[in-house]
Symmetry: C2
Subunit: 206 residues, 2 copies
Amino acid sequence: MTTTTYVILGLLALRRWSTYELAQQMKRSIRYYWPRAESHLYEEPKKLVALGLATATREDVGRRPRTVYEITEAGRGALTAWLATPGSGPLVEFEGLVKVLFAEQGTKDQLLGTIAAIRADAEAAREHHAELGTDLLVTGGPFPERLHVNSLVLKFMWEQAEAVRRWAEWAEGVVSEWPDTAPRTGDQARRVISTVTSSTVDAPPE
Amino acid sequence: MTTTTYVILGLLALRRWSTYELAQQMKRSIRYYWPRAESHLYEEPKKLVALGLATATREDVGRRPRTVYEITEAGRGALTAWLATPGSGPLVEFEGLVKVLFAEQGTKDQLLGTIAAIRADAEAAREHHAELGTDLLVTGGPFPERLHVNSLVLKFMWEQAEAVRRWAEWAEGVVSEWPDTAPRTGDQARRVISTVTSSTVDAPPE
DNA sequence: TTCTTCATGTAATTAGTTACATGATTGA
DNA sequence: TCAATCATGTAACTAATTACATGAAGAA
């Protein structure tokens, strides 16, 4: 049982889904904090069936079969048990930031390009979350009775995207004042770092 | 060549390292945005050598051999070329948030425990970044001439951790007012969501 | 001397990805 | 009726992890 398996199990606790529907639902928001390849999702629920936590039903669409999954009582028990231990904190993989770290090996334009891409990315994510929010407000979404938990998650995602966007905007300003990316004595860098170390006790900046 | 390979290559551009030193350096900060198992780092530089981007030197410590790697000119070229294309945006994997999403399948205490763990995690990360910052200010770090790029990266990491911490604090307040985690009509949730959707044009909240 | 921690890897396993394949449906 | 897209998977591959092993150095 991986976290991915429990994600499927959690969705199955809400209703029965075909695998394709599960994949679509993941696209809607979960993939932003639990990203998995679509094709992988066709494999995962089989584990649940093998463990007796879900049942699979073969249905026919034309001549073509599809599989619909349903949670069992044992499945609900396993899900509740899993919720008892706090999960791991956010794990971030950020290639763009690696490129910022080694920016002196490249040109200033390359660095500005890297930061601009980060910003565009963050803006797109923020837009997506805002649209999802609008949909939840207007239609209530597929599970209107779950708005209370959905709002917690949505707010988190939006704040994350916004934090990235703000950083990128700030970094663009800083870097654009540099003559190039060459090593230098770090007077400005010192000021930046001291805002970080001191704001641990002070109020957040900006 | 994966991003991990380029991370090693980037470090080799700064000086020669033994594999153990590379692993230690990754622990210092890079693993917060490019996390890899320590043992994996012993395999990765071999690829660089095979491609002619680095050279390996066997040295002896007692009867025991160790490998020290050095970048080649071809390696510097490959690194610069890699910096030309903007990398991918932040990829987040956050099991804790999945547990928040399915919180109605568990108890209110479980949810509060999950959020508390997220907060503790974020506070620890923030502390680590602040300590790293202090070290950079006091000693200059191993590469004082690189303070300008290091400050960009450090600020990003700190802001991320702080955003998570703020969210967790806020979520604790919200959830503690709930009677339980059961599904409900979402008046409060609606207010939360509308701050998200509207603040896309307005100023950031709080 | 013994224990612990530092230092340096190897081997086995696995979770996950990319690439591919193909039937069903719908709109032009 | 043709093309595009929706829907449903399978197969092959690989990047990365966990678990293990062991020598060196320093502390008790």
